[in-house]
């Protein structure tokens, strides 16, 4: 091993990197954009507020009180619909997925139900059969209408329960599994770090082995004293540097914009290095199978993109069908995601250790196979 040769390679690689704007974009800007976009989308996930359009056909103090109650619930922003309009047409014209219609006679039915005499409830005049039917005019094709309707049902249920005057029989108590409550963005950031390490390492290895070989640079290098080991080692170091830069940029933006709370310790560089070896190894094997640079890059993309979505980088595995979850568990990126989340979010060292062991063994195997199958000298 020659430190001077490795240093020279690193200098050339880093200069080539910062002079190629697309490489800088995909290594640094792209993951940051993902963080900003997804982070913004899910920023208020824990404090969801729905816009609710309500047509109050009753126009009485009681119906107004119901609207106020729903608003005070905190989960709805109420917008009133003119009673003179056709609610269904209004919903269609304004592309609304839900309009709640309070019927005429709401106050009258309420008075009967509570037995109100001069505004005071009286059990003697109470009519338990008196009721009112509100109407949901909704767009069944909208993916977000279902949680909105469930939330509304829950709010109206609470109103019904309050009117009964009886305490609820079944109560619920919340006991979170985690010591403290985490936001979606804090689960998302480790996934994006794992994903960006994968993309830069895999595409970097393909570029190193296929493009430079196809162009003839490797042929020239084979007539100099640089060894295959020096070349691979310097490129791995280069990939690690890029991965660290990318992870640092992601973390900086996450802290600055979303004020995330993540644990940064030795597990982060450990997973970065293991992932670099694993995906650089896959890249080397790919360039052996697909010798042309274009086909090798296409093969790399064919591996990277499904893995991004199947490994839980962007959303929890529980959202996927069972067979896809089984597939996810054989993907190396899954263990990168899970390991980094265990280390950075959950402070779960045992899970991090298990994931690092799995990805470490995988990295060792593919990297050794990659080295063995990648030609340096023309030989034949």
């Amino acid at each position: 091993m020659s430190p001077g040769v490795i240093r020279a390679n690193l200098v050339v690689s880093l200069k080539s990197f910062y002079r190629e704007k697309s490489a800088v974009f995909f290594t640094i800007a792209f993951p940051i954009i993902l963080i900003l976009v997804f982070g913004t989308i899910f920023m208020n996930q824990d404090n969801v507020s729905f816009d609710l359009h309500v047509q109050d056909l009753d126009q009485t103090p009681s119906s107004a009180q119901l609207l106020k109650t729903l608003e005070l619930d905190g989960r709805f922003k109420i917008a009133q619909v003119d009673p003179a309009l056709n609610a269904a047409r209004y919903a269609k014209d304004n592309k609304l997925n839900l309009v709640l219609v309070i019927p005429e006679g709401y106050q009258k039915a309420l008075v009967q139900r509570l037995g109100l005499i001069g505004g005071v409830p009286s059990t003697a005049f109470r009519n338990s059969n008196a009721s009112v039917t509100v109407t949901y005019i909704y767009d069944a094709s909208s993916s977000s209408v279902s949680p909105k309707m469930q939330t509304l049902q829950s709010a109206l249920g609470a109103v019904n329960q309050g009117m009964s005057g009886e305490p609820p029989f079944i109560r619920s108590a919340d006991t979170p599994v985690l010591a403290r409550k985490f936001r979606f963005i804090e689960f998302f950031v480790p996934g994006i770090i794992a994903m960006s390490v994968m993309t830069s390492s895999l595409s970097g290895a393909v570029s190193m082995n296929a493009e430079l070989r196809q162009k003839g640079v490797i042929r020239k290098l084979s007539t100099t004293p640089i060894t295959h080991g020096d070349w691979v080692l310097s490129n791995i170091l280069y990939q690690v540097i890029l991965a660290v830069i990318s992870a640092a940029a992601i973390l900086l933006v996450s802290y600055a914009v979303f004020d995330v709370s993540l644990r940064i310790d030795a597990w982060l560089p450990t997973f970065i290095v293991l992932e670099v070896f694993a995906f650089a190894g896959i890249g080397m094997i790919l360039t052996r199978v697909a010798k042309e640079a274009e086909s090798a890059m296409a093969a790399a993309n064919a591996i990277m993109y499904p893995m991004m979505f199947l490994s839980g980088s962007f959303f929890p595995l529980e959202m996927m069908p069972g067979f896809l979850q089984k597939i996810a568990r054989i993907l190396p990126l899954y263990y990168g995601n899970e390991g980094l989340r265990a280390a950075m979010v959950l402070a779960d060292n045992m899970t991090a250790l298990r994931c690092s062991a799995i990805i470490g063994v995988f990295a060792a195997v593919v990297f050794v196979v990659g080295i063995m199958t990648t030609k340096w000298e023309e030989g034949k």
């Binding site: 020659s2 001077g4 040769v5 240093r7 020279a8 200098v11 050339v12 200069k15 080539s16 002079r19 190629e20 162009k215 003839g216 640079v217 042929r219 020239k220 290098l221 084979s222 007539t223 100099t224 004293p225 640089i226 000298e377 023309e378 030989g379 034949k380």
Partner: protein, 316 residues
Amino acid sequence: MPKDTESAIDVEHLTKRYDEVLAVDDISFTVRMGELFAFVGPNGAGKTTTVEIIDTIRTPTSGTVRLLGMDVTKRKRDILPRIGVLPQGFTSFDRITVTETIQYYSRLFSRRHPDVEGLIELVNLQDKSKEQFQNLSGGLKQRLGIAVALVNDPEVVFLDEPTTGLDPRARREMWKVLLGLKKKGKTVFLTTHYMEEAELLADTVAIISKGQIIAMGSPEELIQANAKYLVLTLKSADEHALVTVRTMGFDPVQDDHRNITVNVAHPSDVRKILNTLTEAEASFLTLDVRKPSLDAVFLELTGEALRQGSAETMPE
């Protein structure tokens, strides 16, 4: 040890086979220290395979190759620091400048204080020293490739088709560089499919065809041995001149510019033709008598033209 202590390269019964294709067929030759040796032949003749075996990129199927007295298959690590190689179609890192490229390759050879400026001047790239590789023309890239091949001050320089694809001006620039190497006392192993290039630059020329060396020697020796005639050219000649020469029993050829070319066996034939033309009052502007080129030698030896195209002239 090499057969001859003055020899830089000794090739004995070298054969290279790719599956069913015999690329190099039992060739042997020696390159002396300090000479410019041209390996000439058409595309696919086995030139690049041969040079890549000698400069350690490929391994032979059989035969032995000794470079600076060392077996190329066994002592690659000892050989590489002492040779410089310009592979065919040299390329480098796209976004690295001329200066940075030379510095990079110098460091691969552990040269702490390389004469980067001197190398840039040698290949006349002073104006392009800060240009990135991707922005260089083909000729400039090749010249940078030669500078890179010289970063370790090698004893033997291998240049695999350094002028292929270059325009005439770039080729002439490259020839100046090659002559500069020769003056510096480097042993140069040049492959080319331009016969005139070999004829103008080389001390020794080996002509390879279909994997075999079919002739070897100095350009003069090859021409003397294989093309024993003179080429008489009558420029801007009229039709009457063409008919007159033909009736004398020669086989003249007239081109689109009305130039008549005729091969004659002896200088006295030139005098005889001129006298007859004068008597016949045939018209031509000027005349030119030359020895045949190596192209003609190749044609003589193989029965086929090496390539199409006209010869360039020697740089000043």
